[in-house]
């Protein structure tokens, strides 16, 4: 405890705003890191932290294009074999060199089922990895797999020797990466302190240290920001953002993301089994009002269940217009007047949106019961049989891969746990689009897939979500569509 407190004081001293030069950046996150080991969890707070400690095989540049990181170049040997040339000048925090063996080890580690990585499903199209040269690795995929590069953006490279020496459990406590920051102290439930890695191959980071604090309550995070106890926070609602606009010491950093706000409509059970009811719902939901009134403009309209930040977005498939009169007529025609729809949700989703949709559907003659459960129960039912899954729910989906394959495949492909929709024509399109490499052809498949979705309405795209960060005015940073949080890209300019 005393040592813990000592470390805390140290952290606090670094966190105190310095007048001339900003040494330590303090970030308020809603939660603590679950595991420091980058391969062992799939949650946003951990992701935010550990990505600053590790390098990835490839990354995305400011425009969102796949760009080199550990790999300098890559080429397809055949449509299932990809060869990567690697940098040779990267060292881990312990001074050892990052080698092709480390890359292969990282891939094999995550795709090994016995390792139980929660990220397995993102990488399980990879069959094997091998070292094919002094600075070269080759990956083999099950089928031609166009989303591979997008997934590899998230693959952290861990040092084989260190992991094997420490074992998985100790490695999780004492992670060693090759990224711009190294782990100094991790006090679970409290904060994580990282120190700059001055030997970083891309240059010296602008901050000597970063502290990620776990502050679960958004109102408290805002108070921290206003008093300068924290320099930046994420996960703010549009209303929080509006309230902060008048604060002179603060700024809002926003960016449209690849996260799509959507409504699920059950096509396999209940009153929404009737296509006309689903179409009526699409016309009853007033998306413009949701964007202007609820989201206060922190959202972009979409025509389909995908954002323009994703590959596969087709701007010319028409969305449904807001037309309550037509919706009411269609519901009458379907004989569904007064039918009760279960709207499943959990505290993780925006309560106001649920209630707004409830009233909009009420106005066209559908009774909506909002059923709130805690998150695990919600997931169990939503991912269960069509009968369990309720008629409606909302979500904000991001695959962190900026590809339609990570969105409409899991959401609507029959057999997927999220899908309560079975359409062979749709399945054929998305199956084809995930196993060919030609972007032009893929786009054509997605266009047809979205046309089917438009007609069948197993889901409704509500808006493209805008990520809202609030920060001290001195912080210079441009957030990105994939919600990456690289402190390396941030600067302090008083």
């Amino acid at each position: 405890m005393m040592r813990a407190l000592g470390l805390l004081f140290l952290g606090l001293m670094l966190a105190t705003p310095a007048f001339a030069q900003k040494d330590g950046l303090v970030v308020d996150l809603p939660g603590d890191v679950a595991t420091m080991d980058p391969h062992l969890q799939w949650d946003t707070d951990s992701y935010t932290v550990y990505r600053n400690i590790f390098d990835n095989l490839v990354t995305r540049d400011a425009t969102g294009k796949i760009a080199p990181q550990v790999a300098t170049a890559w080429r397809y040997a055949d449509d299932r074999t990809i060869v990567f040339d690697l940098r040779t000048d990267i060292t881990f925090h312990d001074g050892s060199r990052l080698t092709p063996e480390d890359v292969v080890f990282s891939v094999q580690r995550i795709i090994n089922p016995a390792f139980r990585s929660p990220q397995l499903s993102q990488f399980d199209q990879i069959v094997s990895a091998e070292v094919t040269g002094p600075a070269q690795v080759t990956l083999h995929t099950k089928t031609p797999y166009p989303a591979l590069m997008a997934q590899l953006v998230k693959l952290s490279i861990v040092p084989k020797a260190v992991v094997e020496k420490l074992g998985d459990q100790r490695f999780n406590q004492e992670v060693v990466g090759s990224g711009p920051f190294r782990l100094r102290a991790w006090q679970r439930g409290v904060q994580t302190v990282l120190d700059a890695n001055d030997a970083y191959w891309r240059g010296k980071p602008a901050f000597r240290s970063v502290t990620f604090r776990a502050v679960p309550d958004a109102s408290t995070r805002i108070a921290d920001l206003r008093t300068g106890r924290a320099d930046i926070t994420r996960g703010l609602s549009p209303d929080d953002a509006e309230a902060l606009k008048s604060e002179r010491a603060l700024q809002l950093l926003t960016v449209p993301t690849e996260r799509i706000a959507y409504m699920f409509v059950n096509a396999q059970a209940g009153p929404t089994k009737d296509k006309r009811v689903r179409q009526a719902i699409a016309m009853a939901v007033d998306r413009d009002t949701i964007i202007t009134a609820l989201q206060q403009g922190y959202a972009k309209p979409v025509n389909i269940v995908l954002t323009p930040a994703n590959f596969g977005y087709v701007p010319d498939v028409k969305g449904w217009p807001h037309d309550p009169a037509k919706a009411r007529a269609l519901i009458k025609e379907a004989g569904a007047e007064g039918a009760t729809l279960q709207f499943l949700t959990s505290p993780a989703y925006d309560r106001r949106l649920n209630e707004a949709v409830q009233q909009m559907l009420g106005e066209v003659g559908l009774k909506v019961d909002i059923v709130t459960m805690d998150q695990p129960t919600y997931l169990r039912r939503r991912q269960g049989t069509p009968e369990e899954a309720g008629s409606l729910s909302q979500g904000r989906w991001s695959c962190a891969c900026q590809d339609a394959d990570g969105v409409i495949f899991p959401l609507f492909r029959s057999g997927s746990i999220w899908s309560k929709f079975a359409n062979p024509a749709f399945d054929a399109e998305v199956d084809a689009a995930r196993t060919i490499l030609d972007p032009g052809k893929r786009l054509e498949h997605y266009r047809r897939a979205f046309e089917i979705l438009r007609d069948e309405v197993p889901g409704i795209g509500l808006f493209q979500d805008v990520a809202i960060y609030a920060a001290r005015r001195e912080l210079k940073w441009a957030p990105t569509a994939n919600e990456a949080f690289f402190v390396m890209d941030m600067k302090w300019q008083p």
């Binding site: 958004a218 109102s219 209303d239 509006e242 009002t289 009134a293 009233q359 059923v371 709130t372």
Partner: protein, 277 residues
Amino acid sequence: MSGRITPGVALLLALLAAFVVAAVAAPILAPFDPLRQSLLLRLRPPGTTLAAGTFLLGTDDLGRDLLSRVLYGARASLAVAALSVSVSLLVGTLLGLLAGWFRGWPAILIMRLVDTMLSIPAILLAVLTVAVLGPGFLNLVLVLGLTRWPRYTRVAYAQTLQVANLPYIRAAEMAGSSALRILLRHVLPNIAGPLMVVATTEFGLMILFEAGLSFLGLGIQPPFPSWGSIMSAGRQYVARAWWLTVFPGACLFVLVLCVNLFGDWLRDRVDPRSQSR
């Protein structure tokens, strides 16, 4: 002597009655439909007058009339508290009576269960049970009722032990009255006072408990208002729209205060020792 109905106590009772009336007559008193949203009229301050009418206490984050919601919210908050207190009072008293009357094995069994329940923090037990049953009005009443009974059992048990040894009760037993009859006719009236005192404290706590569960997203479900759910939704707007938390908060404060002060007064009446001085 504070045993009499003093003007202070009369004021308390009048305030409590006012809350009950507000809750019962909410449909008549409420100027608007508490569920009716107007997304374009979000977060309007108290006294805003528009074509639709005057929003005396302002509007909430979905443009609903706050006054109407607070009135309807009184219903939910009072009903949850009253019903859950009834459930736990009933269960707790019954078990306490049984344990105190039969002693021996039933007492050991029941009192160990009481120990078990009391050693799990109530809020954790409630969150766990809500996770299993799901939220909603009835489940909430059940969860609160079934997690709070041990407090009554302790009191009922101790009191029954004392009362059961009173000569006239032993006499009734020897005269052949059935245990049930003795418990209900003679023991219960004797121990009702202390139990009511517990119930008043619990009543206030249950209203707060519901509010706490609302904060964790597990209270009364939207769109139906309770004071707790209005406040936890409005909490985000403390700086921007103070009315969302201040009005329901003031109601909650005054009600809980009244109930507790009433409980104090009640205790002084039923506890003969603390009267003599």
